[in-house]
């Protein structure tokens, strides 16, 4: 088992790439830089493949396969080791991350070819790969947290890649800080877990947690609180309400970054963590419900905003948020494997979409506003085709990947009876409506971009198809987006859903909501629900077609008709403004005027200097007694005499000095 013994190689390779490029890449030509970067990622991809191969040779009891490399933090009964772990869940994540990541690296060589700071870009990208791999392979929460923060750093750097643009720098900062807010919860979650179980290693911790009985719904037991705190972190990382605000801004970064970090991998870390901690969540139905509701709400909410955005990347960003919402919905209703499944397919088609969008932007010469596009389908065929595939996939048109994953989520949602039998149906309805919106805005994107008449002048913009290095990854991803979902296809014919089956050893552990009981019901509902889903998708597509191809002037009038609503959507429900007004500005004002100017300068320092002042004044007074007049001096002597005599002869003046005792 060479690789499984030395799992550390997988993350280390990108790190080396990052180090080499970061330290020496400055002076190197692009060729060497990107060969280093791609080499590193590719290598780790194949290493991962090898690892997976070996993994399949393991006997079940060897799983989860944990290797401890060195002890990182030790204090008292607390130990955080650099321990890596491989189980089915890890395998999925591992392949997605390395695979998609590699493709995107390749794509980037084309996309970034003309950018400055080439070496920096790839160094960051590799760094990201390293931390992401740490995240998915970590065997304890602390190490996971390392990856967690690390990817945050990487995304900060990459969003702020064009640091000359203030917007970019702001976006990067925003991303990091919002994530920090999430991490705050995550850390507290860890602390609480450690206080309860006095370990943070997954295996030990879950072993201790499994025998516990689940906490009744609506009850804030330790586990519930811990799970909610963890979910807070997840919400930060995966851009869920209320911490989603950073993701749209994150589109300031280069498009490949958006594809890799803000669509395919990093943002799904939250989902991964929830899935990873499913044992705890299974014991905390309240938390589960919260997760489901938040996820569902986010999905719907983001989708609505997506409807009206005109920036091609913004649309995709909000769709990402919404899709992430789906995944949480899945987890929330206990369909963890479904969530992970969607995570995977989403990684394929969303990466595809972003890259295609990038290709479009590349073709248009850095134009992102869809209102200045149109009719590109002829000019950039391959881009169009691949992107169309992606759209079909996300819209949930069978038999593409999105259809299966989304369908299994809706199904589980429909079945869930967490707390109240109707909960499931509500969630299902919301999810379904979201699906409608999704397909609408995606097709809207397609029609605005590729069909209709050109809304740009050819003289300035000469559209050109992207280089091979960009199209090949597109193609591959397109294929994946098509076939990626077939793993689950057998479920329709009563056969086991291979993907779920594969993950079963991970998720089947506790309550057993996964598989088993669900199976039977599932089979009965499979077809009708799928049909419904399909129809909604078509509806959405048709609506878009009708509005943006048939009656191109309709949207404007509609927008005018629903003026208020439209503007609200356009301004993303004014959430950013709200945060600024409710939190940021007050805090700033408070810090400046109250804490610094008042408390620090006026009160504390004022007091200190005031005392000094006072003493000086008294000192001046004392000096004045030194009048220089001998007669007064004589009087002073007399005064002294009286004082002494008084102290000696009248004991009752002494208690005035009683403090002396």
């Amino acid at each position: 088992m060479p690789i499984l013994e030395h799992l550390w190689i997988i993350p280390l390779l990108p790190l080396l790439g990052a180090a080499v490029n970061g330290l020496f890449g400055r002076t190197w030509p692009n060729k060497i830089v990107n060969s280093v970067a791609i080499g590193a990622t590719g290598l780790s991809f194949f290493t991962a493949l090898e690892a997976v191969r070996e993994f399949f040779l393991l006997s079940p009891e060897q799983i989860p396969w944990v290797r401890q490399y060195f002890s990182w933090i030790e204090a008292g009964n607390f130990r955080a080791g650099f321990d890596l772990q491989v189980d089915q869940l890890t395998v999925v994540m591992l392949l997605v991350v390395t695979g998609v990541g590699w493709l995107i690296h390749i794509y980037s060589t084309g996309y970034m070819a003309h950018e400055g700071g080439y070496y920096r870009f790839f160094a960051y990208l590799n760094l990201f790969m390293f931390f992401m791999l740490i995240l998915v392979m970590a065997a304890n929460y602390v190490l996971l947290f390392v990856g967690w923060e690390g990817v945050g750093l990487a995304s900060y750097l990459l969003i702020g890649f064009y640091f000359l643009r203030k917007s970019a720098a702001d976006a990067g900062k925003k991303a990091f800080i919002v994530n920090r807010i999430g991490d705050f919860g995550f850390m507290l979650g860890m602390f609480l877990l450690f206080r309860t179980f006095s370990t943070l290693d997954f295996v030990k911790l879950f072993d201790k947690a499994t025998p516990l009985s689940a906490e009744p719904i609506g009850h804030l037991g330790t586990l519930t609180v811990a799970c909610l705190l963890l979910f807070m972190g997840a919400a930060g990382k995966s851009a869920q309400i209320p911490l989603y605000v950073w993701l749209p801004d994150a589109m300031e970064g280069p498009t490949p970054v958006s594809a890799l970090i803000h669509a395919a991998t990093m943002v799904t870390a939250g989902v991964y963590v929830v899935a990873r901690s499913h044992v705890l969540f299974m014991h905390a139905p309240t938390a589960m419900l919260v997760v489901a509701v938040v996820g569902c709400a986010t999905a719907l909410f983001a989708a609505t905003i997506g409807l009206v955005q005109t920036d091609i990347k913004k649309v995709l960003a909000y769709s990402t948020v919404s899709q992430l919402g789906y995944m949480f919905l899945a987890c929330g209703v206990g369909a963890f494997s479904a969530g992970i499944f969607h995570l995977m397919t989403h990684a394929f088609f969303k990466a595809l979409l972003f890259l295609a969008a990038g290709s479009v932007i590349h073709a248009m010469g850095a134009e992102q506003d869809m209102l200045r596009m149109g009719g590109l389908s002829k000019k950039i065929k391959w881009t169009f085709r691949t992107m169309f595939v992606g759209t079909l996939a996300i819209a949930g048109i069978p038999p593409l990947a999105g259809f299966f994953s989304k369908d299994s989520i809706l199904l589980s949602a429909y079945q869930s009876e967490n707390g109240d039998p109707n909960v499931g149906h509500i969630l299902y309805a919301a999810g379904l409506f979201t699906a409608l919106l999704t397909s609408f805005y995606m097709f809207r994107l397609i029609f605005l971009t590729f069909f209709g008449k050109e809304r740009y002048d050819e003289h300035h913009v000469h559209v050109h198809e992207s280089p091979k290095s960009m199209l090949v990854p597109l193609a591959i991803l397109a294929v994946l987006s098509i076939v990626g979902g077939w793993l689950a296809a057998p479920a329709f014919w009563g056969k086991p859903d291979y993907f779920a089956k594969f993950l079963e050893p991970v998720f089947a552990a506790p309550g057993g909501t996964e598989a088993g009981t669900a199976e039977a019901v599932a089979h009965a509902l499979e077809w009708p629900l799928a049909g419904v889903a399909f129809i909604t998708a078509l509806l959405g597509g048709f609506a878009a077609y009708w509005l943006y191809l048939k009656k191109p002037d309709k949207p404007a009038s509609l927008a005018h008709f629903f003026g208020a609503a439209y503007r609200t959507l356009l301004h993303k429900y004014y959430v950013d403004e709200l945060y600024a007004a409710a939190i940021v500005r007050p805090l700033m004002w408070l810090s400046t005027n109250v804490f610094w100017k008042t408390v620090d300068v006026s009160i504390i320092d004022g007091a200190v200097n005031g005392i000094a002042e006072g003493i000086t004044v008294v000192g001046d007074g004392t000096r004045r007694t030194q009048s220089g007049n001998t007669r007064s001096y004589a009087v002073w002597v007399v005064v002294g005499a009286i004082v002494i005599v008084a102290v000696i002869f009248w004991p009752h003046v002494r208690p005035v000095l009683g403090v002396a005792r």
């Binding site: 000094a612 003493i615 000086t616 008294v618 000192g619 001046d620 007074g621 004392t622 000096r623 007694t625 030194q626 220089g628 001998t630 007064s632 001096y633 004589a634 002073w636 002597v637 005064v639 002294g640 005499a641 004082v643 002494i644 005599v645 102290v647 000696i648 002869f649 004991p651 002494r654 000095l657 403090v659 002396a660 005792r661």
Partner: protein
Amino acid sequence: MFPRTDDLLRALPELIWCGFGMLAMLLQPFVRSRHFFTVLALIGAVAGTAAAFVAGATPGEGFYGLIESDVFSFFFRLLVGLVAVLVVLAADSYLERENLPFAEFYALLLFATAGMGVLASTRELLTAFIGLELSSISSYILAGFRRDSTKSSEASLKYFLLGSFATAFFLYGIALVYGATGTTNLSRMDDADPGSNLLKLGLALILIGIGFKVAAAPFQIWTPDVYEGAPTPVTALFSAGPKAAAFALLLRIFASVPAATHFWFWAFWVLAALTMFAGNLGALLQTNVKRLLAYSSIAHAGYILVAFAAVTFMANDLNGGATPAYAAVLFYLLSYALVKIGAFTIVSEIGGWGEKNLTLDDYAGLAQRQPVAAAALSLYLLSLLGLPVTAGFFGKFYIFKAAVNSHLIWLAVLMAINSIIGAYYYLRVIVVMYMREGSAEAMAVPAVRFPVAVNVVLAVTAIGTVYFGLFPNQVLNLILQPNLIAR
């Protein structure tokens, strides 16, 4: 009825000092050389100081119990002798600069020293009075030694008037004590009734008289003026010698008069508190360094009085509970004398002809102009401030210890507060010397090259300050004994 040899031996230092004083007077008409007299005075001072060992070697009472040669008097004789030596060295160049009559100066200096010696060794109030007058009158004259300077003469006048005013109180106190106990010999008052109001009053008046000499508030009032007006070497003498001697007398009185029991610590408590604040607060805004040091010497008198409070508090404790407090006083006086003489010597050197440059501005940028002087002065100031590896630190430490030992926590806290206030103005001088750039003309002044004698003074004081700051053991072993003051 010629006195016995032992008596003479026990009084030897004073006799030698006086003898050399006379010698100086007699030779004054015949010898014109300054150096001759300097050497003469030096020999005299040293000889007297050496004689202290002789006297110390023959312990016991002398002259029918008027004087006592014990460790206590030994220590103080050494101290005042050392002061005399240093002042002679410091004065030498000063006298030339200001062209003052040197023979008389040294003579008076030696007589004053003799007076202090008497105060240190006497055990009888009348003798003490004579000694006090001997040193005081010499001091009056020395204060006014720069005849043509109005300031000097004014200082002399004020010192004289107020001094004799206080002396009158002291004397009246003696009278009352005599009336109450039928004797003026401290060692014969054991059977006196401690409750007697007459005795209390007498002691109170004596306390007033001595309090004036040691510049305890509110009798400190004369100090700044006199210190400022007097010729600087004389100021050095005042701040070190007479004060130490007066404290010695006070200590002996309150150590050996049974009536001066416990409750007297109240008086010292008040005096100490007042004095500390008077000194430190007054110094806070001083821009004249000489005057600033004067105020600081008031403050330090206050600190010493804290130790006195501790002493008197422990008065009833017969098994040597007060010993550390005594030691504190003695050690502090030693460290303080060294520092003050050093500091004033530098002031007198920097002062220049007619003592013109005394303000802080004249010290600006001193560190560049005269690094050694600046370093030395900072060392002294730090010692006054009570920072470690200086004798001043241990001095303060022992006083704190004595105070806490006598449960005078609050007095200790007051002292702590005062140390902070004091720190401010001491630091200000250092700051000026090191952190301010001197004014153009100040920097233009060529570096004054100190005479050898002065350098010797600085060396002795500085080294002494550091040495006692690191290894106080010898001194402590000397003064930390229950029979420090023979009863």
